[in-house]
Symmetry: C2
Subunit: 528 residues, 2 copies
């Protein structure tokens, strides 16, 4: 595939008007070809109109057809894996092995949603039969199922150029639901986005999907992105990125004449609580696991553990000694973009300047002619000092973490209760400790979307039971997830059909259950 630098609109492409930007190689600062051209307002309008006109046909396709489309995208990505990985490596400095893994994850997600809609029970089909003899009024025949909401705008992330990007989780779940998707790609991987976008464009064609179910619009978020969020035909938004960016979209969507939901995943500090007996047993092992988690991908994960709450004392010193040794031996890594590296440097300088916060590990942050490199930063402070400085709860995107030594279990609980909404919270504890720390577990459960025991938060498993979505500000709302099969729920709504004749019902709601899906019939879950 020859990259062209144009937005993709339905089956075609936008004209190259010149105004735009080029991708940069973060490891070297080298400019990569081609130059990318920003979408115009006419391009936005054209893409949205195509999406709107494709919606009815796309949403009404048999699920097997949409599943075929998702699988064709996965197949296309796999067939072009080498070229995608090469370009993504150039644009993001992420290691090729990691990107190869991300190809697998992306295709796995597409196939997970394909299998979900092929199986069909996710439709939450419900039937309450009529009872004409009921008094005082006859009972009507009432049936309902989930239907797609309409065209969806997806803002892709910087840190997952594949799995949370053009064909990532938001796109896969929205397409699976039956919603056309318009992606605004992240500027950190322009070429990777075009490669994947053209694979989707091709899959639309080969599987006979209506034109307009997918478009890709390059441009700045405050311009092209905002035009999408404010467009009356857009019915929902998926976003992965910063809190400021996500909140701006939330506010714009809430101010529309007809507000629409924004599903924004904005990251968090993912606190890790160490309980005394577990720490005594496994201080060094916890340090090893923690080191791997905090430095993974140069710390550029929304689930990066940015806070460790641990009892002051000898076992914490063991933990810190082991961790410091490991960090000292970890080379600096190239960050995704210059601005991410700059913000990381500013973040660790801000932390280092807070009274009572001590910097434990030496940090390298270098932006030289060879690129934007960052090493891990480790800080320590007391529980009392942490509670006195709420800005220590701010996320520093990158391989940075703050060790908070608490004087008592009560203080650990206070720290937990002071936390904002989190994607995850982790507890290292013996089984006995878990049983005696209900208050801590409950305080974390209220504040997080996912609780882990004796593990680390990075590495979000893509599966049915996953929930990747915590209370605000971790996400725009904790009721939905951006990872796992529940993600499809963001892009659907129930539709109720009353007194419809059999011939006019969709298969999911017909007597005899032709799709053989699980349904709630007169209050009973059944495949009959």
């Amino acid at each position: 595939m020859q990259l062209e630098g144009c937005s993709l609109i339905g089956a075609g492409k936008a004209p190259h008007r010149g105004k735009g930007a080029s991708a940069l190689e973060p490891a070297t600062g080298t400019v990569l070809k081609p130059e990318y051209c920003w979408a115009s307002h006419e391009d936005v309008e054209a893409a949205v109109q195509l999406a709107e006109s494709a919606f009815e046909k796309f949403g009404a396709l048999p699920p097997a057809r949409r599943a075929e489309f998702l699988k064709a995208i996965a197949q296309g990505i796999e067939s072009n894996a080498a070229v995608i990985v090469e370009r993504a490596h150039q644009e993001t400095a992420l290691p090729q092995a990691r990107l190869t893994g991300e190809i697998g994850r992306t295709c796995g997600q597409l196939r997970l949603f394909a299998s979900l809609i092929e199986e069909g029970s996710w439709l939450d089909a419900r039937i309450d039969h009529a009872d004409p003899a009921r008094t005082p009024v006859p009972k009507p025949d009432v049936r309902s199922m989930l239907v797609p909401v309409g065209p969806v705008a997806v803002f892709s992330s910087s840190n997952f150029p594949l799995a949370f990007s053009v064909a990532g989780g938001d796109t896969a779940s929205a397409l699976a639901a039956g919603c056309p998707v318009i992606v605004k790609p992240h500027q950190g991987h322009l070429g990777t986005s075009e490669l994947v976008g053209r694979i989707i464009q091709q899959a639309v064609k080969t599987t006979g999907m209506p034109e307009g179910v997918f478009s890709l619009l390059y441009g700045p978020g405050r311009d092209v992105g905002m035009a999408l969020v404010k467009h009356p035909a857009i019915k929902a938004v998926g976003f992965t990125g910063s809190r400021a960016g996500g909140r701006a979209l939330m506010d714009a969507a809430a101010a529309r004449p007809d507000p629409i939901p924004v599903y924004a995943e904005m990251g968090s500090i993912n606190p890790v609580f160490l309980l005394p007996a577990a720490l005594a047993e496994r201080a060094e092992a916890i340090a090893t696991g923690f080191h791997a988690s905090v430095t993974l991908g140069v710390g550029q994960f929304c689930t990066n553990p940015g806070l460790v709450v641990t009892p002051a004392g000898a076992d914490t010193e063991r933990f810190l000694a082991a961790l410091t040794l490991l960090l000292a031996a970890t080379p600096a890594g190239a960050m995704l973009t210059a601005s991410i590296c700059e913000e990381y440097r500013a973040g660790i300088e801000r932390f280092a300047g807070v009274p009572g916060v001590k910097q434990v590990a030496k940090v390298t942050v270098e932006q030289n002619s060879a690129g934007h490199f960052a090493g891990a930063a480790l800080f320590r402070t007391t529980g009392a000092n942490f509670l006195a400085h709420p800005h220590l709860m701010d996320e520093v995107f990158g391989p940075s973490s703050l060790i908070v030594e608490v004087a008592s279990e009560a203080e650990a609980l206070q720290v937990a209760q002071a936390l904002e909404g989190q994607l995850t919270a982790t507890i290292h504890a013996t089984e006995a400790e878990l049983g005696t720390h209900h208050a801590l577990v409950e305080a974390l459960a209220i504040r997080a979307g996912r609780l882990l025991v004796n593990g680390f938060p990075t590495g979000v498993e893509v599966c049915h039971a996953m929930h990747h979505g915590g209370p605000y500000p971790a996400t725009s709302e904790g009721r939905t997830t951006s990872v796992g099969s529940r993600a499809i729920e963001r892009f659907v709504r129930p539709l109720c059909l009353q007194n419809f004749p059999q011939s006019a019902l969709p298969d999911a709601l017909k007597e005899g259950n032709p799709l053989k899906i699980m349904r709630l019939v007169d209050g009973q879950l059944t495949r009959e």
Copy 2:
């Protein structure tokens, strides 16, 4: 029960400070005792703090305990039905038979949610087992289920003093989910609200619920109501009322430092489309059903059919002749409050003043010493004129409807495509016509939460398959319902537990499935 006119805060009551209002008998204008005192900001704070401190314990109770609580409320309402109906009749002028029916509906809702949580499958429990041998990384054990979001504020409606009020659907579904509830009752039925509130207060005590799971705060929406919506401890809002009121709450909730969802049901005009063959077959029968629906409860239903789209011609004249006769024989009825009656009068005057709109039926709107009475209003216009005057799509709350005569099927479709979000849309059609009017059905399906064939939208069945929630502006978001068992989904979020030992898992997620609920285990729905 002796009415006292005070807000109920946990197990106690707010002091009577004097500033407030009294209930009025709408049929006569008579002032009813006692005087009701508005809650102070200290009262709001006290109620919210109690709710917050009750939340953890309440949410963690075995579902059977919360079910017992809901059933005790239903039992208490039934035991006091006579006194509730008497007071509600005085305050709302709704007929006693209707109110007795509403008692049944309210208790039915409470028991529906009790049975839902006793059965337990609504928890959407999911388990994906670990696979330590998986490469390149071991697969963790991941489980998730729905958990309550926290304290909920409920704004009760004017037109259902029981079923959408203090112990109505919002309260029942939030309590079932495990969320403490603070109700701001509607000022149209202050005493009825106190009666029901005190029954709930008593049920909290007899079933041993933590104090604070329920409070009732009297006061104006812009004051007490806004204080609730903006309070950091309130995590969701339920509302039934006007579009202006609902939007004000939505905007306030979206502007919070941590935005929360507002589930506002704001009504709609519930279009009814008549297709030619059905109309030819049953013009008079449709008129009879339509008349009953549009005049039911003096038209004071969010599902009142305010628009009829019908082919111009002889069959429509038959329909109108029959309808006009029936309307002429229908006496004016007392409306719920003086201001609702005043707005109804203003609404029909506005319609009557639109060029090209003809008033068909004579209307009585009288506010005399005996009260606030209104008769039904019927208008007719052409499709072209309707499309030229978008304000004819505004809801007139009361027994008013607009007949739009369309010149062609294409014009009927244009009218459908011009509509805003609706709670319901209805089609009267033969089975053959349904099969040939896909475009119309699809246009309505995109715009409505519930589609009816050959029925009428009033009388919302409380059942599992019901969906009472259409796209904005019918509701704040079409993804959720305020009627039927899906309503519980508004007040929960998934919580994911990773690598938890069996002893620390809730019963819903334990191996062996002690609750015997339907779960998604490794992708398979099963009760094993």
